[in-house]
């Protein structure tokens, strides 16, 4: 519901058509860039985590959409370095508004680094979900898993559909 309201007020501001039907949302992610960023070049899981694959290292965090739906993050629990993560299994949790939310790993692999800044500054997840709020760096054990994740356009549509569900 909120997505449609923002989209229509943004459309008003830009003097675009105010009827936000799906046929007007092309390219889909151009409107979402105004309020809940979805970045090109990243891969996305349907549990709202992102993966940035660079060479033999994959960086993982949660998306702008996810942090917005969580509220202000006050505590982050991360795995130990050298531990293993598995696709679609929990690797940690964040706390916001008295809710502990598990974070699921989009891929399997070995944790080579965790973002220690999140201990003292958990709010980085809210203010910089794709940069300073990164959570873990992983050496992927099955790079093919990345193929099954969503790209930016697909993830944007996924978020819109999810938000429209209620």
């Amino acid at each position: 519901m909120a997505l449609r309201m923002w989209a229509s007020s943004t459309a008003n501001a830009l003097k675009l058509s105010t009827s936000v039907s799906k046929s007007h949302l092309s390219p889909a992610f151009s409107i979402s860039r105004c309020f809940s960023t979805v970045l090109e070049g990243l891969k996305y899981a349907n549990s709202h985590e992102w993966v940035k694959h660079e060479g033999s290292v994959a960086t993982i965090g949660i998306t702008a959409h996810a942090q917005d739906h969580l509220g202000e993050v006050v505590f982050v629990e991360l795995p130990e370095e050298n531990s293993t993560v598995s696709k679609e299994k929990s690797f940690g949790a964040v706390e916001s508004v008295k809710a502990t939310s598990e974070i699921l790993s989009p891929i399997s692999g070995e944790v080579i680094e965790v973002n220690k800044n999140l201990t003292g500054s958990p709010g980085l997840i809210n203010t910089s979900p794709y940069e300073d709020g990164w959570m873990i760096k992983v050496k992927p054990s099955s790079p093919a898993e990345l193929e099954s994740l969503m790209g930016a356009k697909e993830y944007t549509k996924f978020c819109e559909d999810e938000d429209a569900a209620h």
Binding site: S47, A66, D68, H69, L70, G71, E72, V74, F75, E77, S90, A93, E95, S96, V97, K98, A99, T100, S101, E102, L104, E162, D163, A164, A165, H166
Partner: protein, 233 residues
């Protein structure tokens, strides 16, 4: 046409905390596997202090060794939130529901739990409000009447809310409730002169407020609690 959203409600009476955790674990697995619909447990605990994932033991103001003397237990949980007390005459609701099917994140979920309690309080003329930033829960003025602490795993909720009907508020003296110092705890009994009906009626009203807030089409009241209480199955 979307299919109707049903909430199955189990009213379990007084349940020991560890036993409840076993029941909850089983139901969460079943909900994740789509073996059960959205489910709600309505119950009370004997005097019990619980801590959240952050394990803020410093907010327990008496030594753990003293707890048996005052007839209370202490348990560590994986929920969000700080230390709290559960006891007789406090209505507890534990929703085990799918947030993905309603597109809710933690914030919407918790705000809807707050709204449920606020709506319920208004039935007795009590004007409650949601907490300020970082003070999640339900307040009457500066006095806390309802607490929330939840966990969300793969989009399925567990733990939940506790609303003070008429618990022994002295138990709250032994903690810094929810980690918020200098704020009182209150109860429905304290905030209204209205005649309170039986607790069974009160719990049913609170459940109905929650079902309405989450837009359930129907509530299925499960009659035989032994089905769920028998965790050996």
């Amino acid at each position: 046409m979307r299919s109707p959203r049903i909430l199955e409600v189990w009213r379990l009476g007084t349940v020991n905390y560890l036993k409840f955790l076993k029941i909850q674990d089983k139901l969460v697995s079943e909900r994740k596997a789509h073996q059960i619909p959205d489910t709600l447990l309505s119950l009370e605990h004997p005097p019990t202090y619980t801590l959240g994932k952050r394990r803020t033991d410093h907010n327990l103001l008496i030594p753990q060794s003293q707890l048996t003397k005052i007839g209370a237990e202490l348990h560590y949980t994986q929920r969000g939130g700080d230390i709290t007390f559960h006891g007789p005459h406090q209505a507890i609701l534990y929703p085990i529901i799918s947030l993905r099917s309603i597109g809710f994140g933690a914030r919407n979920y918790v705000e809807t739990l707050e709204r449920s309690m606020i709506e319920f309080a208004s039935m007795y003329g009590v004007k409650a409000r949601p907490g300020n930033k970082c003070e999640t829960g339900v307040w009457v003025g500066d006095r806390k009447i309802g607490a929330i602490g939840v966990r969300i795993s793969s989009g399925i909720t567990c733990h939940g809310l506790a609303f003070n009907i008429d618990p022994d508020l002295n138990y709250f003296e032994h903690i810094v409730p929810c980690g918020i110092a200098d704020k009182e705890v209150t109860s429905l009994r304290r905030e209204t002169d209205a005649l309170l009906p039986s607790e069974e009626v009160i719990h049913k009203q609170l459940i109905t407020c929650l079902a309405k807030a989450f837009s359930y089409d129907d509530v299925l009241w499960k009659e035989d609690p032994s089905v769920i209480l028998d965790t050996q199955r």
